[in-house]
Symmetry: C2
Subunit: 397 residues, 2 copies
Amino acid sequence: MQNATLYTQVRPAGGEMTSVLVRDGRIQALGGPAPAGVEIVDGGGALMLPGLIDAHAHLDKTMYGMPWYRNEVGPRLIDKIENERAEKKRLGIDPYRQSARQLVMSIGDGTSHIRSHVDVDTDIGLAAIEGVMRAREQYRDQIDVEIVAFPQSGLLIRPGTLELMDEALRMGAEVVGGLDPAGMDRDPKGHLDAIFGLAQRHGKPIDIHLHEAGELGAFSMQMTIDRVLALGMQGKVTLSHSFCLGMPDTQAVQALTEGLLKAGVHIMTTGSASRPVPNVARLHAAGVTVCTGNDGMRDTWGPYGKPDMLERTMLVGLRNNFRRDDELELALHVATYGNAQVMGLSDYGLAPGCRADFVLVDAETVAEAIVSRPVRKLVVKGGRVVARGGRALAEAP
Amino acid sequence: MQNATLYTQVRPAGGEMTSVLVRDGRIQALGGPAPAGVEIVDGGGALMLPGLIDAHAHLDKTMYGMPWYRNEVGPRLIDKIENERAEKKRLGIDPYRQSARQLVMSIGDGTSHIRSHVDVDTDIGLAAIEGVMRAREQYRDQIDVEIVAFPQSGLLIRPGTLELMDEALRMGAEVVGGLDPAGMDRDPKGHLDAIFGLAQRHGKPIDIHLHEAGELGAFSMQMTIDRVLALGMQGKVTLSHSFCLGMPDTQAVQALTEGLLKAGVHIMTTGSASRPVPNVARLHAAGVTVCTGNDGMRDTWGPYGKPDMLERTMLVGLRNNFRRDDELELALHVATYGNAQVMGLSDYGLAPGCRADFVLVDAETVAEAIVSRPVRKLVVKGGRVVARGGRALAEAP
């Protein structure tokens, strides 16, 4: 039997001990006998999780591997955006090198797929898109990367950006990004018209950073829902952060939730500890698809973060006051199947027929894996081992 | 020169590279030449931090080293309290063994001092106090433990508890604990009278768990402030959690802050991600002493936590939206000097004359140490090495 490996003594999703047969990059069977000639890998009783997914990254921004950056940035969103544009040049934050570094760390931590927003603006043009594309090509057998063309510095307020976005999508960016239609561009109608126009023209989905809180965010969210319904883009739009869903007016949140469900709009939350956040359990119970990601990792915006989706899952759990095991299992569901749904991965999971993207960790239960964040014993991507003992086999530049 | 060690190539608090001379358990000098015959330890350029302090632990509750506990507890505070009393017996959560396990982990993570609340109730009587006292005696050369006699199940609503608290203080518990004067005992005046009475009779400080949020918490906080002033107990009282300081009414918070300052009442925050929390920067700027601790670690209340005060400092930073280096340095100040002040440690720090309690980590800056939480390279307590490479030299039961 060619290209086949039997992983014995593993517990998929914390269930009963079994074996998993992998052939030609896919999971072929669970629990069957070892076919003749198959390579056998003893899992040692490890918990098997599907490949972790980071559905909201900024690969081009990280400063991993660079000298420590002393952060003295001001408190407003615009302070951070302007500081970043200046520091990118001053410090030489190279999009290829930096995204490659984060990819290698992510592989070591068991991440199989990443959706990365990548800056497009009139200062750097398409250099970040090109850099991240180069890195994803280099590590294509170890991790899948989806690119969102992201107008970080604004779309309409910086003429020329829309044309660059259009070009980024022609080059192969898979998703149209947006940013605070009211708060950033000061023109919610114009901003949404522009990005929905790009999406329609290129036949691509949308992922909007919506930091706007309270009633302003609710306004932009409702405008987005209306456009999705008018254009028939159900299931194709994600609203990232969506702090407005953490506002105290529960009736307004309920009305928005019903709109999100009807329009099939997905919600991305990082479980931010310092902002109002969407309630993961309530959205999930209502039927809205919730996804999560690490967001910026050690960049000019802030120093936090390891690109470890188990740590992110813990932070989502802490923010949502998840204490019970079933609650933590929901948090991991968000970081795996929720993310896979948002990214449109059809053959994701631990069932026969799925791509063999999985992680082995020493943990008794799913909840223990989240709160203990053990070193990833083995990471398999497309049937091939890509990391052992927390370290990717691939090298970073 | 006897009992002397020179730590070379270290950067105290992230400052200039220097050497630190330790003799007879204390820091004797920074930056001088090596005296003859002194043992030399090369710090390799490591960052030197003062011993980390956990000013709010529950050593008797942790389930570290026990089989995974599947948590199915209900949502209310009383659910968790009643669940814990039942599970303690059913599962055999032994206070000595469990506190010893957490102490050994804490030593490995560079913690030099712990204030631990320890349950006193009419079910277990003083067994938890005795257990934690036994563990602290065993590890007394590696870590200092201060014990708060804590009426976890209520004071007045469970007759007999007050007498047990009195006995715990006679046995050597250093601090009088309290819990939600209104929310738990349903008798704020009675509760505060009782614990201030104990404190006066025994000449001991007070540390009250104040989960009560909003206006109810503000009421209990103000009653506490009034008693402190009336009894002249300035500087002797800590209010732990103090979620009420996270309420939206900033004028009310300002008035309380002025009261706290006048009464020298300290505030302990864990940086809870799911509750309203005190604003660390504003309290500190106002002159209120803020301290922090890990609270319960993997117990029947919830599965989270490593007893690592750098991780706690990170969580406090995340909750307070600290992004700048100076903000993260404040968070570490809270977890070191703030905690030391609350615990009344007079010879704490990295200056000559201080007890030689310190930690070496590989990190460029204080902020990097917090966000990266590197393995503790070397931990020194009272001039003696107590942990290397993240592991305590002492064994756990």
